[in-house]
């Protein structure tokens, strides 16, 4: 059993934790990062192997050792989710993600107000807890800019200080300057998607991605090998935390990374402050760290779980939970897929960065009139691969066209005919927050360390969500035909009600301690030396992937901690 002291403990060194480790280290604070997985290197990611990384999820949590359970409602028993898509190593999910890097729209930060102003309060489903963020796009813009430039994001501006630029995302919020790197090269699916979408009057563009299209900060450019989502990058062109912020953190001389370290409790005292953490080492040892500041930056399941596990007599409902909001308002992107198949040409979608390659934003956020739509908020619509990577095993995991069985000679012929001649559109639909969509501790299942597993409860099949999915599928059908596809087919959206992608929420941020867990800096309203930073703090989710916003929030919090909190520890607001 080891015991040590430090200024800051960061639990989970991923998208947010890696940035905080580097920035607080630079500010002269002694930082220990706890990471339950290993620290891998670029050399570990060569060669690529679809079975190991996609199918057997080698870079993701082991679902038997680290289960997360799900149930649609409180009347049913939760069962372990078969796939977890968060990270399980230093660098977190940024090691294996598809690298899609969005800034949210201005109205994503004020979805409630925007909806009421434009459509009236009755447009918001009565049971939804949709809320504005306690900060605006303008507040976060400097940090989006910093994340794009420090990490390395490739794309084309569509709104430069208010000036709309064709070829970029004309629906994006104004940015101070263009991306640091030009867009990645287009593959054939992108070209067809772009042509088809323009025919219909839409505004397609190359998806901004944290993959360097040219050499950048000593890293080589993308080689278009196609192994992004589920894989580590074999040349280091993916701007993961592993190759960006962790070396910076090392260079501060103030950062120590403990790998194989599974935190199970945040310690607190009767004065109402946290005092450090307890964790299991790789050998099963039980260890503690005393710290002045504890920052929780795991994926959303463990952010909530750790706070619940750390309850005391003083905090009987878990840490940071005087509001009773801890674990509530969980959201997920439901991914509606439409496939396109071509008989007269190849698309070779196994080439090029594999996730959400080209996008149109015409039906996202409040970018279109929802007056008669039957739902609020929207979705990005992108072209890419079936399960976000383009190998043949991935194609066997997705839906077949109507009339094509899932096995037998006809299935074999389908694979042979369309593997290299198909592409897949995805609508990543924004789902609203609801208070009864929750994370808590599973009473029936424990992880390999004997700690109760996190349990997620929710069902996406609500009227507003169903109407949005149906709308997007129709749009994608139309785009598929405009692309000139010979076959256009839909995949059912999570037929069993299973949970979708990009889970967010659980430690909601807000402007009022009575209705939120943390303030805009991720600082607990109840316990000023405890921070929670990540997509668990998002009050609403937008139709965009969360990572760049997580990273911008981490930069903003690091700034506030280094410039204000360090001098005078206490509430920042």
């Amino acid at each position: 059993m080891a015991t040590e002291k430090t200024d800051v403990v960061i639990i989970g060194v991923g998208a947010a934790g890696g940035i905080l480790a580097a920035e607080l280290g630079k500010a002269g604070m002694k930082v220990i990062g706890l990471e339950r997985g290993p620290r891998l290197t670029t050399a570990d990611f060569n060669p690529h192997d679809e079975l190991r990384y996609f199918q057997r999820q080698d870079l993701r949590p082991n679902i038997k050792r680290q289960p997360v359970t799900w149930r649609p409602n409180t009347n049913s028993t939760a069962t372990p989710m078969p796939v977890l898509n968060n990270g399980n190593q230093a660098g977190g999910g940024t090691v294996h993600y598809g690298s899609v890097s969005w800034r949210l729209h201005e109205d994503d930060f004020r979805a409630r107000s925007q909806t009421i102003e434009r459509y009236g309060a009755s447009a918001i489903p009565a049971d939804s807890s949709l809320a504005d963020w306690p900060l605006t796009y303008a507040d976060l813009e400097p940090y989006y800019d910093r994340a794009e430039y420090e990490l390395g994001v490739s794309g084309k501006a569509g709104n430069l200080q208010g000036k709309k630029i064709e070829g970029g995302n004309v629906f994006e919020a104004p940015r101070r300057r263009d991306y640091p790197l030009p867009p990645l090269l287009q593959d054939q699916a992108e070209v067809l998607f772009g042509d088809g979408a323009r025919k219909l009057g839409y505004h397609p563009f190359s998806t901004p991605r944290a993959i360097v299209s040219q050499p950048y900060n000593g890293r080589p450019a993308c080689t278009y090998c196609g192994f992004c989502q589920a894989f580590g990058c074999h040349v280091g062109a993916k701007s993961s935390i592993l190759v960006t912020k962790l070396p910076e953190a090392d260079n501060t001389g103030n950062f120590k990374l403990l790998t194989g370290a599974t935190c199970y409790r945040i310690s607190s005292d009767n004065s109402g402050k946290v005092t450090g953490v307890a964790y299991y080492g790789p050998d099963g040892s039980d260890n503690t760290i005393e710290a002045e500041l504890v920052i929780v930056t795991t994926f959303i399941y463990d952010n909530t779980r750790l706070l619940l596990l750390s309850k005391t007599d003083r905090f009987p409902n878990g840490l940071a939970n005087s509001s009773g909001q801890l674990g509530k308002h969980v959201m997920a992107h439901m991914m509606a897929n439409v496939f396109v198949g071509f008989d007269d040409r190849h698309l070779n979608v196994f080439m090029g960065p594999s996730a959400q390659k080209h996008t149109l934003d015409d039906f996202n956020a409040d970018n279109f009139d929802h007056k008669d739509a039957g739902f609020i908020r929207g979705s990005q619509i992108s072209i890419g691969t079936g399960n976000l990577q383009g190998g043949p095993i991935a194609l066997t995991t997705v839906a077949t066209p109507p009339g094509v069985p899932r096995w037998g000679a006809a299935y074999r012929d389908f694979l042979a005919q369309y593997f290299a001649r198909h592409a897949v559109m995805v609508a990543q639909t924004e789902n609203l927050p609801y208070a009864d969509q929750t994370i808590d501790l599973d009473p029936n299942l424990r992880d390999a360390w004997g700690v109760p597993a996190p349990r997620v409860t929710y069902d996406w099949r609500r009227p507003n969500e169903r109407a949005r999915v149906e709308f997007m599928q129709k749009k994608m059908d139309e785009i598929g035909h405009a692309m000139g596809a010979h076959k256009v087919w839909r995949a059912p959206v999570s037929p069993a009600g299973a949970p979708g992608a990009h889970h967010e929420g659980g430690t909601r941020m807000g402007g009022d301690p009575k209705t939120s867990v943390v303030n805009k800096y991720g600082q607990s309203w109840d316990i000023p030396n405890l921070f929670v930073i990540g997509s668990s703090t998002f009050p609403s989710m937008s139709g965009f992937n969360p990572t760049l916003t997580i990273q911008a929030l981490a930069y903003m919090s690091a700034d506030a901690i280094a410039s204000k909190y360090k001098k005078s520890p206490g509430p920042l607001l």
């Binding site: 079975l51 043949p392 096995w407 037998g408 042979a416």
Partner: protein, 229 residues
Amino acid sequence: MNKHDESRRAFLKGAAVGAGAVAGVGLVPDALAQQHDQHQPAEAPATTAQAHAHAGHGAFLNDDNAATVTAFAERLMPGAPGKPGATDAGVLNYIDLALAGAYADQQDFYRRGLAALDTHCRSAYGKPFAQLTPAQQDETITALEAGKATGFTWPSAQAFFNTMRTHTMEGMFADPVYGGNKDFAGWVLVGFPGAQPLFSPADLQSKDAYSGAPIIGLQAQSKSPSRRT
């Protein structure tokens, strides 16, 4: 390379030695040689298909189970002239090695699932699955997929079908280092060039099948057949 990989590779190496036991006298550990001997069928296989059924296992499955897995996988991905199927790709070998290694926790799932399958087939047709006609086998698999086959408890008929399907697809399309996708049969079938380290701008702009480089597998010694035309 992690420990799991090391042991897997060591195991594969051992399996390869076992297959060459007749020539490799003295180099073969006794246990492996005995295991190999046990798998020499007492009666000579009557057909080529049966000979295939007995090739490519020895790590976990017994001969009867191997015959069932082979027949089942072949119905899921049947071979035809110019279109390699599960037997051509060595799906049995993939599943056998996986059950002795990465999927060892599913050994009982297979034991029980295969037993229930034969019970169901004997009750419905009077014969085990491997001895049914292809049409009867398809009928059986359809009943499993729909959850209508009798005789299954755990695993359920659907769970057994889903796992067999998943593992058959893995054996078709996973890298040959795992024991299936023999001579890149699965990748040739669909036109996947393997783990290419890069594609050029010209590759990205092409409307044709990729033909820029041979198929690349995880191990340099994997055979690279000439590419499709």
